[in-house]
């Protein structure tokens, strides 16, 4: 299949890459950019492990084709935090015990981040709605919701 050239902003940097047009964004990020924080759990947009932020929206990167992000902005967990400091969300996930096996964690963080960027003071129900597409089999969700709530800036 003939490759296409795409350019987009990835974790704040402008990047250009040639890719087969049928490559999933998930594979593009993991293989071409070695961003292995983006996990595959189901490959059909059900589990949320591969969540990234695409133009300020949390999306499952397994259901996005690479050329669709041409001229867009993509953020993965590698793009959270600044100058070696953890993002407040990352800090609270650690403190509140919201991390167990860790496989859903990057997707969970990004769904939460996308929510807080749009709505800096969400209610507990709004938090639950924001992460409803991210499955976790270890925590039972309570500590994840607690962590997101604790990260809300005063």
């Amino acid at each position: 299949m003939e490759k296409v050239k795409i350019s987009f902003k990835l974790n704040g940097e402008n990047v250009t890459v040639e890719t087969p047009p049928n490559k999933r964004l998930l594979d593009l990020l993991r293989e071409d950019f070695e961003l292995t924080s983006v996990k595959e759990g189901c490959g059909e947009g059900e589990c949320g492990a591969c969540t990234v932020i695409l133009n300020n929206e949390a999306v499952t990167s397994c259901t996005v084709l690479a050329p669709q992000v041409d001229n867009c902005e993509v953020v993965t967990v590698e793009g959270l935090g600044k100058d070696g400091e953890l993002d407040k969300l990352q800090e609270k996930f650690i403190e509140e015990g919201a991390v167990q096996c860790g496989y859903c964690t990057p997707g969970m963080l990004l769904s939460a981040k996308a929510l807080l960027e749009k709505n800096p003071h969400p209610s507990r129900d709004e938090i639950k709605t924001a992460i409803e597409g991210n499955l976790c089999r270890c925590t039972g969700y309570k500590k994840i919701v607690d962590a997101i709530e604790a990260s809300i800036e005063e």
Partner: protein, 422 residues
């Protein structure tokens, strides 16, 4: 109260920082130079006989490096955590949908997919057994050997039959629990490498020491030539105790002398990972009119599917817990675990204990209703106390918290539920 360093403290998980940064390496995240990707050709029928495997077309696809079948296994072709009954690659008999028939290593995913499609497997489909009832019939097709019963056990305390005659009320009920998948969020994966006579593999696993033994026996080499490393593992819940991708990747690495990575799709994982044992249970429980339980008689039928896995542990644990956390002087538990052509059942959070809880707790509610007493009261009246003796004759001397737990749960429930009990 005494101050401890860890107990009572909020301790930060030592790998939490790597995990929030996305730096923790799961098996699928690892790679080595010159690495190949690998996959499995699986049976699409639950019961059958393999007549012929033809991999010639697959081997000719450019980019296919190795195609292996059972004939290529240098050591033993049989695995299993407790009883060894599962072939690494099927020799002749198909026992479930998803049985592994051939494995392929290729330069990339699309070549791998093409090669797997091109492997021709001729299978004569045979009648399978899919219910415990059918599996126990004398003339049923046999999944292994000459009986479908993997294990049959009896546990007795006191004289159940005599005790039932002294009971004022007796409740008899049947219960069943379904197949359940663990659905760990990370599908199984292994990266294997064979170098200087040592096979090293990094897996998503709960059982690296067991994996090591199975790989050594499969290759017919000594344990000191096998390194089994647990990669960061994305959930298991018992479902990553069995061999998944370890043997297949190790065998391909052994033959190709190149690193091999195999990652299951969710569909493949769902098809062949172990499941919670479905249970069919008959409970007969008798009590005096003031709610003291005198006897319980339990019959358990358990479906282990195509292979034993942790079944022999599950039958024992389900039996020793079937009386529940209640002191009962007369107990009889009879259990049978049977093979069928269903998905393999194995370890899953509780090893049969959650299944029998559906039964013994159902019985407590039924007794309370029949006696017209409070469901909490019948539980606190009968629950284990310090000094209680279980059906296996064990005297409980320490950490018997069930009475307090029930009381606190009831208090909490009262606080949060409205008057109608909603």
């Amino acid at each position: 109260m005494k101050e401890f360093n860890v107990i009572g403290k909020n301790v930060i998980k030592k790998d939490a920082v790597d995990k929030v940064l996305g730096k923790a390496k799961f098996a699928a995240d690892m790679k080595l130079p010159n690495m190949l990707v690998a996959g499995v050709k699986r049976s699409e029928v639950p019961s059958g006989k393999v007549i012929n495997i033809n991999a010639e077309k697959a081997k000719k696809v450019p980019g296919v490096v190795s195609v292996l079948t059972y004939k290529d296994i240098p050591g033993e072709n049989i695995i299993g955590i407790i009883n060894k009954d599962e072939p690494i690659l099927v020799e002749d008999k198909i026992r479930r949908i998803g049985d592994a028939i051939a494995i392929v290593a290729a330069e990339d995913e699309s070549t791998l997919e093409k090669a797997l499609e091109l492997i021709e497997v001729e299978i004569e489909e045979t009648q399978g057994v899919f219910t415990i009832e059918d599996a126990l019939k004398e003339d049923s097709p046999k999944v292994h050997g000459d009986t479908n019963i993997l294990a049959e056990k009896i546990l007795k305390r006191g004289d159940v039959d005599a005790a039932f005659k002294k009971c004022d009320v007796i409740v008899e009920n049947e219960y069943s629990t379904p197949v359940i998948a663990h659905m760990f969020i990370e599908p199984e994966a292994t990266l294997a490498n064979y170098e200087e006579g040592i096979i090293t593999f990094y897996s998503s696993t709960q059982n690296p020491h067991y994996d090591r033994g199975e790989v050594a026996r499969m290759l017919g080499i000594t344990l000191n030539r096998v390194r089994s490393v647990q990669a960061t593992t994305g959930g298991g819940f018992g479902g990553k105790l069995d061999i998944s991708t370890q043997c297949h990747t190790a065998l391909l690495a052994f033959y190709t002398n190149r690193p091999i990575k195999m990652v299951r799709s969710r569909e493949e994982s769902m098809k062949v990972s172990s499941k919670r044992h479905p249970h069919y249970m008959k409970f007969k429980t008798g009590a005096t009119k003031d709610g003291k339980i005198l006897a319980t008689d339990v019959e358990l039928l358990q479906d282990t599917g195509a292979y034993g896995s942790y079944g022999l542990a599950v039958i024992t644990r389900s039996m020793v817990h079937a009386q529940g956390p209640y002191e009962i002087p007369n107990v009889r538990i009879r259990a049978k675990m049977v093979y069928t052509n269903n998905p393999m059942s194995g370890a899953m959070r509780g090893f049969g204990v959650p299944q029998v809880a559906i039964g013994h707790e159902g019985q407590m509610d039924a007794l309370a209703e029949k006696l017209g007493i409070d469901p909490v009261e019948i539980r606190t009246k009968n629950c284990f106390q310090t000094g209680s003796v279980t059906a296996t004759g064990q005297k409980l001397v320490d950490s018997i918290g069930i009475y307090e737990t029930i009381k606190k749960a009831a208090d909490k429930a009262e606080q949060i539920m409205d008057k109608e009990g909603k």
